[in-house]
């Protein structure tokens, strides 16, 4: 019989659960292709729709490129978040997670980080394509990629709060949007601002620092809210 005294030290315990959940979710994502591919296809599709709406004039497109990229990336990530806890909720693994003696906080970080990796990384890799489609100069692509990667991390962590409190409800998708989009305001401002600064040739230090700071805050604080939300969703 294991007694509390023989439990592992806290440190080991938290990294073990973080790692276990991170790895488990990555495996699940890689075996279900849609998880990482669908948000990307969605983004490309909506960019195409924007182009069709605005017209083929590259100058016109480039004027709106920053806004288009960020709004579309934000929507793509937000839509993918609906599934973040839903399958866990339905197959009962979420119960197991909440009943684990190890700290939920770190399990959540592992889980959201896995989601960030499978949505943020494809966005990062596809950013040259976005730039090409919207007439953004190629010299800015590295900054676009970096901005999208940092931004998708913030979006994942904040959005997971919405996913956590709506996982037990039937009307998930739209409700998450209503709850979460207002919280996304700073990300879109600094993300699009980063591109705008880069296009104008100004120093991008300020928006980059802000994005990094927001990411740190989101990683530290959001799991608390996510954990509370999951417990409420399970409590019926």
């Amino acid at each position: 019989m294991t007694h509390p005294a023989t439990m592992q030290s806290d440190n080991e315990s938290m990294f073990r659960i973080l790692h276990a959940i991170f790895q488990r979710d990555l495996r699940v994502y890689f075996r279900t292709r849609g998880a990482w591919l669908n948000p990307l296809i969605f983004v490309l599709l909506v960019i195409t729709l924007f182009t069709l709406g605005i017209g083929p004039d590259v100058k016109q497109l480039a004027l709106n490129a920053t806004a288009i990229i960020w709004v579309v990336a934000l929507l793509g990530i937000m839509l993918s978040l609906d599934a973040l806890f839903r399958s866990d909720y339905e197959d009962g693994t979420l119960e197991q997670l909440l009943l684990s003696p190890r700290p939920l906080y770190f399990a959540i970080i592992g889980k959201v980080a896995a989601h960030w990796l499978v949505t943020g990384l494809p966005m990062l890799l596809a950013s040259p394509l976005f730039a090409l489609m919207l007439g953004i100069p190629i010299s800015i692509v590295p900054l676009l990629a970096l901005g999208l990667f940092l931004g998708s991390g913030i979006l994942s962590f904040i959005g997971a709060i919405g996913a956590a409190v709506t996982v037990s409800l039937q009307t998930g998708g739209l409700l998450i949007a209503l709850i979460i989009l207002p919280l996304y305001v700073p990300v879109i401002i600094f993300g699009a601002g980063l591109l705008q600064y880069a296009l104008e040739g100004w120093s991008v230090v300020a928006p980059l620092m802000m994005l990094s700071g927001l990411l740190c805050a989101a990683v530290v604080l959001a799991p608390l809210a996510i954990g509370a939300g999951l417990k409420i969703s399970m409590d019926s």
Binding site: M1, T2, H3, P4, T6, M7, Q8, R16, I17, H19, A20, I21, Q23, R24, R27, V28, R31, T32, S87, E90, D91, G92, T93, E95, Q96, L97, L98, L99, S100, P101, R102, P103, A107, M234, D235, S236
Partner: protein, 236 residues
């Protein structure tokens, strides 16, 4: 298994759902080596009671004590003693049975597993424990196959295989015999007996007749009242 005396107490539990009183005045004491079977008609709150014991459901009054201390206050210390199996098996269908047992071990496993050299993340080594657990339920041939390809009964068996690995004192099982064939029932009943002989505790719901004389019965139908006013003391 240490002979340390363990005790689970349910003290005047009271729970209402919607417009009706689900259960009231539920009192039960369970010592190590005893099982408790919760009986009652459909909708009498059997699952709710199990979720109350596990800590998933918090909307009730009265208290649940483990070795004299409230399970709510014990938190992770109580969860370290608890193995819960709910309606949903808690099995990820994209993962193999082995992988499912591995992440579960990482979240719940004892330090003994680490001492044996079991490490999460390396499927090549240290899967002995898990392989043996699966073999107990006749799943050895399927251990490397995604659970999505297994039948419902086999998926339940994957979940039950956790009990082989479990070093928890308290098993809380919601309909463990669902979708399990005759052979499985025999294996499971034998496991229950062994767990009780070791001094463990089981709280379960089932329609299967159980032979063990170590099993007490709590009939929830006797704790139900017709819809009526809630007495004043409760609402304060």
């Amino acid at each position: 298994m240490s002979p340390l005396a363990t005790q689970l107490e349910l003290n005047s539990l009271y729970c209402e759902r919607g417009e009706r009183v689900l259960m009231q005045n539920v009192n039960q004491c369970l010592e190590g080596g005893q099982g408790l079977r919760i009986a009652g008609a459909n909708g009498s709150g059997k699952t709710t009671l199990l979720r109350m014991v596990s800590g998933l459901t918090t909307d009730f009054s009265g208290d649940i004590r483990w070795n004299g201390r409230s399970t709510r206050d014990l938190g992770a210390l109580f969860r370290a003693q608890l193995c819960y199996l709910g309606h949903a098996p808690g099995v990820k269908s994209a993962l193999t049975p082995i992988e499912n047992l591995q992440w579960w071990q990482a979240m719940n496993g004892s330090s003994a597993a680490t001492a044996d050299g079991v490490s999460v993340g390396n499927p090549q080594q240290g899967t002995d424990l898990e392989e043996r657990a699966l073999a107990v339920f006749g799943l050895a041939p399927y251990s490397q196959m995604p659970c999505a390809r297994l039948s419902a009964g086999q998926q339940r068996r994957v979940a039950l295989a956790r009990l082989v690995l479990s070093q928890h004192a308290l098993w809380v099982l919601d309909e463990p015999f669902t979708a399990i064939d005759q052979d499985g029932v025999v294996v499971l009943e034998k496991m229950f007996d062994e767990h009780l002989i070791r001094g463990g505790m089981i709280v379960l719901t089932t329609h299967q007749p159980l032979r063990s004389e170590r099993m007490l019965t709590l009939d929830l139908d006797a704790h139900r009242t017709e819809a009526g006013g809630i007495d004043e003391a409760r609402s304060l």
